[in-house]
Amino acid sequence: MPRRKGAPEVNAGSMADIAFLLLIFFLVTTTIETDAGLDRMLPPIEPPDTDVVIRQKNIFTVNINKNGQLLVEDGLMDLKDLREAAMAFLENNADGSCTFCKGKKDPSSSDNPTKAIISLKNDRETKYSTYITVQNELVGAYNDLRNREAQRLYGQDFTTMESDYLNPETPSSVKDELKDKVKRIQDMFPQKLSEAETSTN
C-alpha cells in the first residue's frame, strides 16, 4: 500500500473565521471604562424672588468640622449612624399626609418627605474624603427609601430603574415606561439636599 510523504497540510482557510469570531466576542464583551460618581445639583446663585419660610423642624442639619466629626441636629453623631438618622428624619411624617411612610410621627421632626430638607455644612478644613462619605450616606438614605417604595410598587430597585432609564442603550419603548415610574418614585421622596456656603471661622 503506497503512503504519502510526511503529514498532510492542515487547511488554514477557516482560521480567519475563527479569528473573526474571537474578535467579535471581545468586541461585545468588553466595556470601555466609564467614570462614575455622585451626581449633585448646585443651587443657583440668584436668590429666589420670594422668601420661603421653612420651619426649623423640617431641616435636618449636618455639620462637618475640620476633624471630620459630625454635628447632627445639635448632637455629636458617628458617621455609621447617619444613614439611619437621615432616613428616620425623612419619613417621620408628623402631619400624617404621607401614606407610605413608616416613620414615628414625632411632632418635633419633619412634616412629610416633600417638606423635609437636609442641610449639609462643612468647614474649609474638612477633608474631601470625609465630605464624600457624608454625601454618600445622605444620598444612600434617599436611595434606600426610594428602593423600598420601588420594590413595593414595581418589584425592582429604584437605582436599577434609574440607571436603566439613563442608559443610552436602553430601547426607547422601555425608557418611556420607566420614565413615569422613576418620576413617581422621585416625587415620593424628592431629594432636597442643600449645600450651604461654608462657614468661615
Binding site: 503512503r3 510523504k5 510526511g6 503529514a7 498532510p8 497540510e9 492542515v10 488554514a12 482560521m15 480567519a16 479569528a19 473573526f20 474571537l22 474578535l23 471581545f26 468586541l27 468588553t30 470601555i32 466609564t34 467614570d35 462614575a36 460618581g37 455622585l38 451626581d39 449633585r40 445639583m41 448646585l42 443651587p43 443657583p44 446663585i45 471630620g68 458617621l79 455609621k80 462643612n122 468647614d123 474649609r124 478644613e125 474638612t126 477633608k127 474631601y128 474624603s129 470625609t130 465630605y131 464624600i132 462619605t133 454625601q135 454618600n136 450616606e137 444620598v139 444612600g140 436611595n143 437605582t159 434609574e162 440607571s163 439613563l166 442608559n167 443610552p168 449645600e195 456656603e197 461654608t198
Partner: protein
C-alpha cells in the same frame, strides 16, 4: 518496524502562516477597543475617594473635567505641595475656573450646551475650602450640574 523508518524520511511540513495577519489584526482590534484615550496628562495626584451610591457618567461629550490635587513630584518644586486645580494641561487658580467652563461650553455643539455636567475629579486628601471655592465659581457661570467622580467601593474606607 520498516513502516516507522519510512515515515521519518520526509521533513516536517512548514506550518502555514497565512492566518498570522488575522491573529495580529484580532489582537490589534482588541487593544484598540479596550484602551481609553487620555486627552490630558495628569499633573496632580488623583486618588479618588470611594462611594457606593454612584451613577455612571454616560455620554463623554457632555462632560467637562476639573482635576484637583497636590502636584506630582516633578511639579512640586515649582508649584509647591498645596492642592492645586488642573484645567486641561495647566495649573490654574480658582478665578480661572469660570472662564474655563465658559470656554469649554462654547466649544460644544449648541444643543449640548445646556446639558453639560462638570466632573470634579478631586484627590481624597484635598480640603473642602478649595472645592467650595470651585463650587462658588461654577454657580457664578451657572454650571450647576456637578458630578463628584469617585471609585466604586465602601465609603467608610475613605476615613482611614
Amino acid at each position: 518496524m520498516a513502516k516507522f523508518t519510512k515515515k521519518k524520511d520526509g521533513d516536517l511540513p512548514a506550518v502555514s502562516t497565512a492566518s498570522l495577519p488575522d491573529i495580529v489584526f484580532m489582537l490589534l482590534f482588541f487593544f484598540m477597543t479596550v484602551t481609553t484615550m487620555k486627552d490630558s496628562s495628569l499633573m496632580v495626584e488623583n486618588t479618588l475617594p470611594n462611594a457606593t451610591e454612584v451613577k455612571k457618567l454616560e455620554k463623554k461629550d457632555r462632560v467637562i473635567y476639573i482635576f484637583v490635587g497636590t502636584p506630582t513630584r516633578e511639579y512640586q518644586k515649582v508649584f509647591g505641595t498645596e492642592p492645586k486645580i488642573q484645567l486641561n494641561d495647566k495649573f490654574a487658580n480658582v478665578d480661572e475656573v469660570g472662564s474655563y467652563i465658559l470656554a469649554e461650553r462654547a466649544k460644544k455643539p449648541q444643543e449640548l450646551q445646556n446639558v453639560l455636567t462638570t466632573a470634579l475629579k478631586v484627590d481624597k486628601n484635598a480640603n473642602m475650602g478649595l472645592i467650595t471655592d470651585i463650587k462658588q465659581e461654577l454657580r457664578k457661570v451657572n454650571a450647576l450640574k456637578v458630578n463628584y467622580t469617585t471609585y466604586e467601593g465602601d465609603a467608610f474606607n475613605n476615613l482611614q
